[in-house]
């Protein structure tokens, strides 16, 4: 007699389970004025125990909340330099999030992100220093300039292929840099605008209260960018764009079912550019100055490294990558050029081994495990293995 061995068919990601009373009606909290819920609970009957279960299907909001809360609670207790690093991280993370919207969601390979930040920062700073507008107007001028710059830059994006558009935007950034450094009125400061008014009072600048205030502002900026990410990527615009995501065929398909993906792309681009304009204004206020350095290729590459390490096209990737790179770049200033080498090495290793950056490692591992177990099962089955497609085991009613 042969002994039958049983194999585990599949593994499921572990889920939070609650077992509510089956007789009580479900009462779900909604976001005010919308039909949305805070957390994605899924109700299901357990086929074995025949009991009602409530599972948390999407755990990301929890992680986001815990992470951001911990960040905001811990930071005020850190040293002065760490607080300023935290604030800079917030600014970089917001720029990265908006860039991810442009590159990932809209699929426009633009390298002019920092150029838009710089242009609107310059315009906002100039309006304050040379025209004498009070500082709250900086937060108004920035997005307006960003909107205009975004609209101009968006125009050729439908006509040019990815790499060519990247080249064009790189050219725009270079032109901006040369233009600013050549401006007659800024020659004494090497093209920088200094003495910009700020929401941080003059005598608090670089003091602890000023740093804390700056951090608070930067954190609000990060929250705002996350909100915008969520509003664009997870709502209608993002859904429209996901149909036309990967290639020519998808675009043709989207067009055939009546989705105007070009318009959606332009909308996302212009919206993100306006937000980048706001970040530019904030940047000028936070440092009380803005210099042509912001248009430089090195700065752009640093931001790109952040996105790549975290994972291109993911919000959590943009934030995690910004955290890692900012910590290395600003936290270990004493080791000099070694820190850039370190960033490059991390970038290299992550890209060789991970398909989609650090935040994609988990999915990649799951896919790998799934494939392996599928292969093993196919080998075991008698008759050459009419193996079910991997997805079939997840289907309840076969």
């Amino acid at each position: 007699m042969t002994v039958k061995t049983y194999y585990k068919v599949r593994r499921r990601p572990w889920e939070y389970k609650l077992s509510p009373d089956g007789k009580v009606a479900r009462n779900r909290l909604r976001l005010p004025f919308t039909r949305r819920h805070f957390l994605k609970w899924r109700d299901a009957y357990n086929p074995k125990s025949l009991k009602r279960e409530r599972r948390l299907a999407d755990k990301k909001p929890l992680w986001w909340t815990i992470g951001l809360l911990a960040f905001v609670v811990v930071t005020p207790f850190l040293s002065n330099s760490m607080i300023s690093i935290a604030a800079i991280f917030c600014i970089y993370a917001s720029i990265n999030l908006l860039w991810t919207l442009i590159v990932g969601t809209a699929g426009i390979f633009s390298l002019a992100t920092l150029a838009i930040v710089g242009v609107s920062g310059y315009a906002a700073a100039a309006s304050n220093v040379f025209l004498g507008l009070p500082w709250p107007f900086i937060l108004l001028v920035g997005p307006m300039v960003g909107f205009v710059a975004g609209s101009i830059l968006a125009a050729p994006s439908t006509r040019l292929d990815g790499l060519y558009y990247a080249l064009l935007t790189m050219g725009v950034a270079e032109i901006c840099r040369v233009f600013v450094t050549q401006l007659r009125s800024l020659t004494q400061t090497n093209g920088a605008i200094t003495q910009v008014d700020s929401f941080i009072p003059e005598d608090w600048f670089l003091q602890r209260p000023g740093l804390l205030l700056g951090f608070a502002g930067a954190f609000c900026l990060l929250l705002g960018s996350l909100l915008l990410w969520r509003l664009i990527n997870s709502e209608r615009l993002g859904l429209l764009l996901r149909t036309a995501k990967t290639g020519r065929e998808d675009e043709a398909f989207a067009e055939a079912v009546g989705i105007d993906f070009r318009r959606a792309r332009l909308t996302v681009f212009v919206l993100s550019s306006s937000a980048l304009g706001l970040v530019g204004g904030f940047y000028a206020m936070y440092f009380k100055s803005i210099s042509p350095n912001i248009f430089s290729l090195d700065q752009l590459l640093l931001l790109f490294a952040m996105m790549v390490i975290g994972g291109l096209g993911r919000a959590e990737g943009a934030v995690v990558g910004a955290a890692i790179v900012t910590l290395i770049d600003k936290g270990f200033i004493e080791i000099g050029p070694l820190r850039i080498i370190l960033v490059a090495a991390i970038m290299l290793v992550v890209t060789i081994f991970a398909r989609e950056g650090l935040t994609g490692v988990r999915d990649q591992f799951r896919d790998f495990r799934k494939r392996k177990s599928g292969e093993r099962r196919a080998q075991r089955t008698e008759k050459g293995g009419e193996a079910m497609p991997e997805e079939a085991v997840e289907v309840h009613d076969k």
Binding site: P156, V172, L312, P337, L338, I341, M347, I352
Partner: protein, 308 residues
């Protein structure tokens, strides 16, 4: 326009063409945008500087101050630059091609890896050798010819002739040798190449080494005019990339045409009094943007349409 300006323009054009052809060939055959081309350039420059510095006493001892000594020196400089470039190409092959060439997102990931290599190598050079500029021994010697009332420096003439020679050799290799035929077949249809017994892994290595060697030649030649420094590769890389794109990626003749166009543009912008050297990049990029608005895929399509 006088002859001196034309020589200067051709000098720029030949260096740019060497870089751009490498990037262009690599893209169309291996499918990789090589951002580490600048690092290859800088590394070859340093290798030439290092080797020629180390061998200088030996050469001086054997040949004294004869013509033979300068010939030996020149060949040492060129050879070390070329070998270092080819070695960099092999490193890029091992890191950016071999591990991921049949994995998802290959083109983006290889771009990122080469970019990381570029940053890492440039910073390592900066860290190890310091930011000081180093001068290479003059391959073509000092001096100038008088021709039609203009002075032509030896190094300019040598650069133009040398670069053209190397390019002609490369194109001839692509055109007439068996390997070159394989590379061209792979440039045009990767699957068809596999069915013809041409393996992608086996062909990518010589291509990467060749393009690396081209960057090495460019480094040795450009270092006759400017110095070797860790960041010396950045501008040739940016110029090479933009010219390769302007020429329509994958078109060798387009790249050469674009290099000549940009060389002349830069030379002319450089001498116009109210613009000057500071506006050279500005003018280049404005020109490229203008071209891209009218021809979204560069000027290569005008010359050949071999890729389907």
């Amino acid at each position: 326009m006088d002859l001196g300006l034309i020589i200067y323009a051709l000098n720029l054009a030949s260096i740019y063409a060497l870089m751009a052809i490498g990037i262009s060939i690599l893209w169309s055959s291996v499918g990789m945008i090589n951002m580490a081309h600048g690092a290859t350039f800088a590394t070859s420059g340093y290798a030439a500087w290092f080797v020629s510095g180390a061998l200088k006493p030996a050469i001086a001892a054997t040949f004294g101050k004869t013509v033979m000594a300068s010939v030996m020196m020149a060949s040492v400089v060129m050879l070390s630059a070329v070998l270092a470039g080819a070695f960099c190409g092999a490193v890029i092959y091992a890191l950016a091609f071999l591990p991921i060439h049949d994995k998802p997102n290959y083109s983006v990931r290889s771009l990122i890896i080469t970019l990381a290599l570029n940053i890492g190598v440039v910073q390592s050079l900066l860290w190890y050798f310091g930011p000081r500029n180093r001068g290479l021994p003059k391959v073509f010697g000092f001096g100038r010819w008088e021709l039609l009332d203009t002075k032509i420096r030896y190094d300019q003439a040598g650069t133009i002739v040398g670069a053209s020679l190397v390019m002609i050799l490369t194109l001839a290799w692509l055109r007439y040798s068996r390997r070159g035929l394989e590379v061209r077949a792979m440039m045009q249809n990767a699957e068809g190449a596999a069915y013809s017994g041409i393996s992608r892994q086996a062909t990518a290595l010589p291509v990467l080494m060749l393009t690396g060697a081209l960057a090495g030649v460019a480094a040795a030649l450009l270092s006759q005019t400017i110095f070797v420094s860790p960041t010396a590769g950045v501008i040739p890389l940016v110029k090479g990339l933009t010219i390769a794109l302007l020429g329509g990626l994958g078109s060798v003749s387009g790249a050469v045409a674009a290099a000549i166009l940009i060389g002349f543009l830069e030379a002319i912008v450089g001498v116009i009094p109210f613009l000057g050297q500071r506006y050279v990049m500005f003018a280049t990029f404005s020109f490229i943007i203008l071209v891209l608005i009218f021809r979204p895929r560069g000027i290569g399509g005008l010359l050949d349409n071999t890729r389907e």
